[in-house]
């Protein structure tokens, strides 16, 4: 794929706002995406329940949102973000949570920022992840300030903020590879369909 193809591909999926015609294939694709988000959320909350490297669990859903936004743009990224936030809230949160709005806005910003650029490479992903992780830990810090007014900032930084930041970045390439794999499975047919539409 050259840069023009990438631009066309992304613009068609983001800019106009027009929805593609619904088909069984699209339904299965979105079901697969939801399934992937579901599994990711389960792994984040279940697999890392006992085994917590450096005392924390990595934010895999955040990495998934970033990878999808970079790969497929703001629209798909925001859908994945809503699904991820909802699943995480359902599995582990109590009361109101800022996960859904945070993931939603982050995915849109990343998707729009990368519009028109070839952001398919791993270097873009690994550059975006620390920024996303930084915003995430800021949200965590903000939530702590709201829920636990008296806490030690230095202790919290060493025990919660820094480990969460580092471990999220360390485990994020796994999600990048998963998204690349999904793209290989579904992306070929998508590109063929769009090329046919453009040609007609």
């Amino acid at each position: 794929m050259n840069n023009n193809d990438i631009k066309t591909y992304k613009n068609e999926s983001q800019g106009s706002g027009a929805c593609a015609p619904f088909s069984l294939y699209s339904f299965l694709k979105y079901l697969a995406i939801f399934g992937a988000v579901f599994i990711t959320a389960i792994i984040q909350t279940g697999f890392f329940l006992k085994w917590r490297p450096w005392g924390t669990s990595p934010d895999l859903c955040l990495a998934l949102c970033v990878a999808v936004s970079l790969k497929w743009g703001a629209k798909k990224g925001s859908v994945v973000a809503i699904m991820s936030g909802f699943c995480l809230d359902a599995f582990s949160s109590v009361g109101i949570s800022l996960l859904i709005p945070f993931y939603f806005i982050l995915s849109i910003i990343i998707g729009l920022f990368c519009e028109g650029k070839n952001t398919d490479s791993f270097s873009y992903f690994i550059s975006a992840m620390p920024i996303a992780a930084l915003f995430r830990v800021m949200i965590i810090f903000f939530e702590l300030c709201l829920t636990a007014p008296s806490f030690s900032a230095s202790e919290t930084f060493i025990r919660t903020i820094l480990p969460h930041f580092v471990i999220t970045i360390v485990f994020s390439p796994i999600l990048y590879l998963a998204v690349r794999l999904t793209e290989k499975i579904f992306g070929k047919r998508d590109r063929t369909t769009r090329h046919k539409k453009r040609d007609t």
Partner: protein, 287 residues
């Protein structure tokens, strides 16, 4: 940044953004509102219904991985804990051993006290055996007290069970004891039942068995198996009435026609570790 802002404004006007943002706000606020109203969140419940079995699998896998890493990360902690527990165990065992010793001492002192009450005429001195003869461990002992504690030559040595021997040598802080089963000692003895008299001697080469013999000149002496034998008080060493043992068998010497009475001693000479020395007698009962 300005370009991003323009892009965002354009995107925000799209139908997709309006629908998606509404859904996001709804999914954020609705569960909290439902929770405040006391109603369950249907959507979250539905998701959890499907997710719970899968989460169990994920938790199981996570526990397995945690157990695997624990092998490496917990090793040092377990090693330290092991060393600490060993130390605590050693201390507890020492305490236990000390408690056992204290208990044994308590039992001994109880018997000591009981014997003192039964024989108020005796002055008793408590001592421990700190050495035995290397050849035959039952012939003679060394005690940990001597003249400084009031021990004198020829004083009788007993335990609550019976007669042990007499003091054959005494120093400032030690005393040597010759037992009644050693060859060469003789003790005037009588049957407590019939009063039949004899002279008790050790059996040469047989001291390990704890059996000694009493020779009665009177072949018709009334002695039976099982008779308790005590000191007769004849002689200058042993006072009257100290328990020696019980008759185990009787035979007649074919040459001298003396009655040879074999006595099983009341004291276990192989295992005795504490003894009492009968000191100065309070009443005038010199033998």
């Amino acid at each position: 940044m300005r370009l991003l802002g323009d892009k965002f404004k354009k995107f925000a006007r799209t139908k997709f953004f309006i629908v998606a943002a509404s859904v996001a706000v709804f999914l954020t606020v609705a569960p909290a509102v439902l929770a405040m109203m006391g109603r369950g969140d249907i959507l979250r419940s539905a998701v959890n219904l499907v997710a719970t079995p899968l989460k169990s699998v994920a938790v199981f896998c996570g526990n397995a991985v945690d157990g695997f890493f624990d092998y490496f990360t917990e090793f040092n902690r377990l090693k330290e804990e092991n060393a600490q527990l060993r130390e605590e165990l050693d201390k507890a065992q020492s305490k236990n051993d000390a408690a056992d010793v204290a208990l044994a001492e308590n039992e001994w002192l109880k018997k000591f006290l009981l014997f003192s009450k039964e024989h108020p005429e005796y002055t008793l001195i408590d001592a421990m055996i700190v050495g035995r003869e290397s050849g035959d461990a039952t012939i003679s002992f060394t005690l940990n007290k001597g003249s400084a504690a009031g021990i004198k030559l020829n004083q009788s040595i007993i335990t609550p069970n019976g007669l042990v021997g007499y003091v054959c040598e005494v120093g400032l802080n030690y005393a040597k004891v010759r037992t009644i089963i050693s060859n060469g000692t003789s003790v005037g003895a009588i049957s407590e039942r019939s009063g039949a008299y004899g002279m008790l001697e050790g059996i040469y080469g047989n001291s390990q068995s704890g059996v000694c013999k009493m020779i009665c000149r009177d072949a018709d002496a009334d002695i039976q198996v099982g008779d308790p034998i005590v000191t007769s008080g004849v002689g200058s060493i042993y006072p009257y009435g100290l328990n020696i043992g019980k008759v185990s068998s009787i035979e007649i010497d074919e040459y001298s026609r003396d009655l040879i009475v074999y006595i099983e001693t009341a004291v276990d000479f192989s295992h005795v570790s504490r003894v009492m020395i009968i000191g100065e007698e309070d009443s005038g009962n010199e033998q």
